[in-house]
């Protein structure tokens, strides 16, 4: 796959992430319960748990910033942009893994939006690695 195609895929994935995290940020700031697709009702528990903020900043807003960074990386050409993307994706993937652990073993509830976001972050990391291998050749 060409670098151009990888950037396009990364941009699409990041846009999906922006939409999810923007929605979760909005529900958190408005104090409303997110619509939990597929039922289960775990979204409200996760979104309002004590882990939903870091120093007063909603975790969803941090996710929004990360996806915006990935989108920026996809919009730019070259190795520096590829490195930026890899850095953001790696931080996001590691923190996302920790959040998934919290959902499963500490909070005891699963939020489908968060699972979707974790999958998107993993996809972004994969695309960023492939892109760097292409641009680094």
């Amino acid at each position: 796959m060409s670098e151009r195609a990888l950037r396009a895929l990364l941009a699409l994935t990041a846009v999906a992430g922006v939409l999810i995290s923007a929605y979760l940020t909005w529900t958190h700031l408005r104090g409303v319960v997110p619509v939990c697709v597929g039922g289960g009702g775990g979204c409200d528990v996760v979104q309002t748990s004590r882990y939903s903020e870091i120093l007063g900043v909603p975790v969803a807003a941090l996710g929004l910033a990360a996806y915006a960074g990935l989108l920026l990386s996809a919009a730019l050409k070259g190795e520096t942009a590829a490195l930026l993307g890899l850095f953001v994706a790696l931080v996001s993937a590691l923190f996302s893994a920790y959040l998934t652990y919290l959902e499963l073993f500490v909070i005891g509830a699963i939020c489908q939006w968060c699972v979707a976001s974790a999958a998107l972050v993993a996809a972004c990391l994969f695309l960023c690695v492939l892109r760097l291998l292409r641009t680094g050749k």
């Binding site: 700031l29 408005r30 104090g31 409303v32 319960v33 009702g41 775990g42 409200d44 528990v45 979104q47 309002t48 748990s49 004590r50 882990y51 939903s52 903020e53 870091i54 120093l55 007063g56 975790v59 941090l62 190795e79 490195l83 890899l86 850095f87 790696l90 931080v91 590691l94 923190f95 920790y98 909070i107 005891g108 509830a109 760097l132 291998l133 680094g136 050749k137």
Partner: protein, 219 residues
């Protein structure tokens, strides 16, 4: 990939791990408020604040409700500091127990703490340690641990008060007040004063509560 670039990627990965680790550490820090938030403020059962405060804020809540926990963590500490502590408003917790069995046991435990005027400290701990809805997390051991953590609470007295019939009467009375006030969900915040009454729904930010207080202060 060139050798220099490989080194750069390794450094970048190490920094990424450090940043993610820092975020994990920061996420472990406790949310807003502590038991200290309620110290030195008069308490009477589920009421916090001076009896002659011109504004009353009724807080309809269920200890299993995640949005109630969010309100308790993000809005309540600031509200207590800005309005309750100076004597401008008093808070009345209207403890509801409609979400399931864990709601009933947590409500009984908090009301029992209220018998010793430690309701707000105990409620703070309940929200900080809230489990998944109706997962059976509110076991006797869990509730007793929180009682032991509650500053100034006599645990033996609390244990006896938990089984008192007056707790059931209070829960019924709150349900009737909630029905009369048209409360459909928790948290619902009813702010009343000389200028009337305002009803807020959800884990509203402090700005919305402040606006409601100013509205009802106008006579």
């Amino acid at each position: 990939m060139q050798k220099g670039n490989v080194r750069l990627v390794i450094v970048l990965a190490a920094v990424a791990v450090a940043v993610a680790g820092l975020m994990v550490v920061l996420s472990q820090l406790e949310g807003g408020g502590s038991q200290e938030t309620f110290a030195d403020i008069p308490q009477d059962y589920t009421t916090l604040g001076r009896e002659d405060a011109p504004v009353e804020i009724q807080l309809y809540e269920d200890f299993q409700c995640p949005a109630c926990a969010q309100f308790a963590r993000e809005t309540l500490p600031e509200l207590v500091e800005a309005r309750v502590e100076p004597g401008e408003a008093r808070l009345v917790s209207e403890t509801m127990a409609f979400l399931g069995p864990d709601s009933v046991s947590t409500a009984r435990a908090a009301l029992a703490a209220g018998e010793q005027d430690r309701y707000w400290q105990y409620a703070y701990l309940l929200f900080e340690n809230q489990g998944a809805e109706n997962s059976g997390y509110a076991t006797d051991e869990f509730l007793t641990n929180l009682a032991e953590e509650t500053e100034g609470l006599d645990v033996e007295e609390w244990r006896a008060a938990r089984d008192d019939a007056s707790v059931d009467k209070e829960l019924e009375a709150v349900q009737k007040r909630a029905d009369a006030a048209g409360v459909q969900a928790t948290p619902t915040i009813v702010v009343s004063g000389p200028g009337g009454e305002e009803m807020l729904r959800g884990a509203v930010p402090i700005e919305e509560v402040e606006r409601a207080i100013e509205e009802v202060q106008r006579s």
